[in-house]
Symmetry: C2
Subunit: 373 residues, 2 copies
């Protein structure tokens, strides 16, 4: 990737910094993005080096860009249910849940992870949109009794196959009792905090919800120190790993232009039971999408970054989709990518072309995402 893909970002108070920003920058963060108006690091070595390390060791991520919104009060659950087709009544206690959130037209507004702290108290760890504002507006319009605010909570993720060993060193054997997308309470500087078995990779691990900025740096240092001989490193969500895993990025792969069915999120839609969801009727009528997210492979050498959607065409020139994320995969030895593809062309093996900014390349619809186990 040539330097000319990058631009220099001017700092301002408007672009927030997590309590770990300076510490993580000192670890060698080499590029940033802006996520929920918060600076987030993009890689430390190279994307490829970070990827190889994430899949074999353990990384600690400052993912403060996943801003937390707290919703509490007697109508909290109802408010959230109004905005998601996932049936919240199926969730037990001490659960986290991936919840696609939609407007009344069934279009995606965000896809946060919901943490059920109490029957009347929830956290949303947001993807990159002000879902906070939608919920505030919805509550105001519907006259619901809720409180919605951004608490001083910051996520530190521990990700990678050795994440369990590292977490055990810090918090003891109880961490093995935390089921997938469940959470437990751990001690951080004398204060109980949420440790969720979740994270934006498929390498396993946890997300610590640091409850108070002042606690972030001491626990960061403690985790890094405890993992020294496990080759622990500062890291961040890795583009290669997340594309291979099919982890969708809101704003990149999916947006307010798409339904959960177009996003391939039908397993999180329980339209029979989610009767409070405002989009229920619309989504019931749109369960058979005419386009959908697909894993695709792109020929040629390493692709440039996807700075804007790349048009996908048939060999005859008909427009049939868009590539939204792409990168070179050292393991697959090809470019792996995520695309929204029209129904008539989304079968695995379909051969198409994509207009990447550097050249027109061949594109083949893949059977499945590469990194899922």
């Amino acid at each position: 990737m040539g330097m000319d893909h990058y631009v220099r970002l001017n700092p301002s108070n408007r672009l927030r910094r997590s309590p770990l920003f300076d510490r993580v920058r000192a670890e060698g963060a080499k590029a940033y993005s802006v996520y929920n108006r918060t600076l987030i690091s993009q890689w430390f070595g190279t994307l490829e080096e970070d990827y190889a390390h994430l899949k074999t060791a353990v990384q600690v991520w400052d993912v403060g860009g996943e801003r937390i919104v707290e919703i509490s009060g007697p109508d909290a659950r109802r408010l959230i249910q109004m905005a998601t087709p996932r049936d919240l009544s199926r969730l037990g206690s001490e659960r986290c849940a991936y919840v696609p959130m939609v407007d009344p037209q069934g279009r995606l507004l965000n896809d946060p992870v919901l943490t059920l702290l109490a029957p009347d108290r929830y956290w949303l760890a947001l993807a990159d949109s002000d879902m906070f504002l939608y919920l505030k507006g919805l509550a105001a319009g519907a006259g619901l009794d809720v409180r919605i605010f951004e608490p001083d909570v910051w996520i530190i993720a521990i990700q990678g196959p050795r994440a369990y060993e590292l977490a055990e060193r810090v918090w003891g054997r109880m961490i093995h009792d935390i089921g997938f997308f469940k959470y437990g309470w751990v001690d951080v500087g004398g204060k109980p905090m949420v440790l969720a078995r979740s994270g934006w990779s498929v390498q396993g691990g946890f997300e610590l919800h640091v409850d108070g900025s002042d606690y972030a740096l001491p626990i960061w240092e403690k985790i890094m120190e405890a993992g020294r001989d496990l080759d622990v490193r500062a890291g961040c969500p890795n583009l290669i790993e997340r594309i291979e895993a099919g982890l969708l990025s809101y704003g990149n792969d999916i947006s307010v232009d798409h339904t959960p069915f177009e996003a391939g999120l039908e397993r999180f839609c329980h339209l029979e039971d989610a009767t409070d969801c405002l989009a229920r009727e619309t989504l019931l009528a749109e369960q058979e999408p005419t386009r959908q997210i697909r894993p695709v492979e792109i020929s040629g050498d390493k692709v440039p970054p996807v700075a804007q959607l790349w048009p996908v065409r048939t060999l005859e020139g008909e427009s049939v989709g868009k590539v939204s994320s792409a990168c070179w995969s050292p393991e697959q030895q090809t470019n792996v990518a995520i695309a929204m593809i029209d129904r008539a062309y989304w079968q695995p093996g379909t051969r198409l072309v994509v207009d990447a900014p550097d050249s027109t390349r061949e594109l083949v619809v893949a059977e499945k995402f590469w990194g899922r186990t």
Copy 2:
């Protein structure tokens, strides 16, 4: 300013580019910010060179980050009025209006410019938050009959004392008939488009609302060509000019933590008449703020960028405010800044100290903003 204030921004589809991005980059944009998830340029020469040029000549700005939201339908006006303390019934036709927008608790959510296209059709040119989502939620909760979406509209601003001469060359003498914060219809590539006498500077000029991406580049070239002998240059909102003018930046100077009264926006609050505003009762009780935005001067040589709020203290150490924006002013020969200051200390001439990241400096509350005429 040392290079170490800046970070490298990794491109992605999530960070949008206006239709003029490549063209404006080629004009020499040297740094960017991210505004409404859209890349916006920050300066071309130096901040100081851009400032001097803006105040004497004319610049053309690609301000695509001011994303447009369209609200139409029978309940459009009521919906907007529910979210602003400004009385919309006072506005005539072909008007633009600066409208602080608030949640039911009277806290600022955005401060867009509203354009009244028709009694049932409005555009909001947004500051940096998804006001779009709040309005969508509010409409859904209240069951209002409106349509809310982002049209393919992009603002090109023409700013500076010679903006009128330049606009006349492009669209003729009719541009002189457009009153301040009013708009007229001009021809752009055969299509009528909104030319508003507004802009994020106090040097005078217009904001052309380009209605369709494909029209952006041709009209950009036409304007630049028409202004060649007026020393027209590509530009962008200038930090020095806007601080001197007291133009507040949402997310920098004001946020969801503040009321319009704390922001010094009382002249846009018509609480007696804005009876549909959901925050009316709360704001009626909070018209005497205990802190408020103030112009301040900061001693010493050129300050670094305000990457995070700077604490303001009394000489005795009591915390009494925060600096949110600051820069060196070549005309004032001091650092000009915007701060939120507690009532007991906001009188002009009050001497305080500020903990800037490089050093503790003296701070004096100024009589008024420097750049207002």
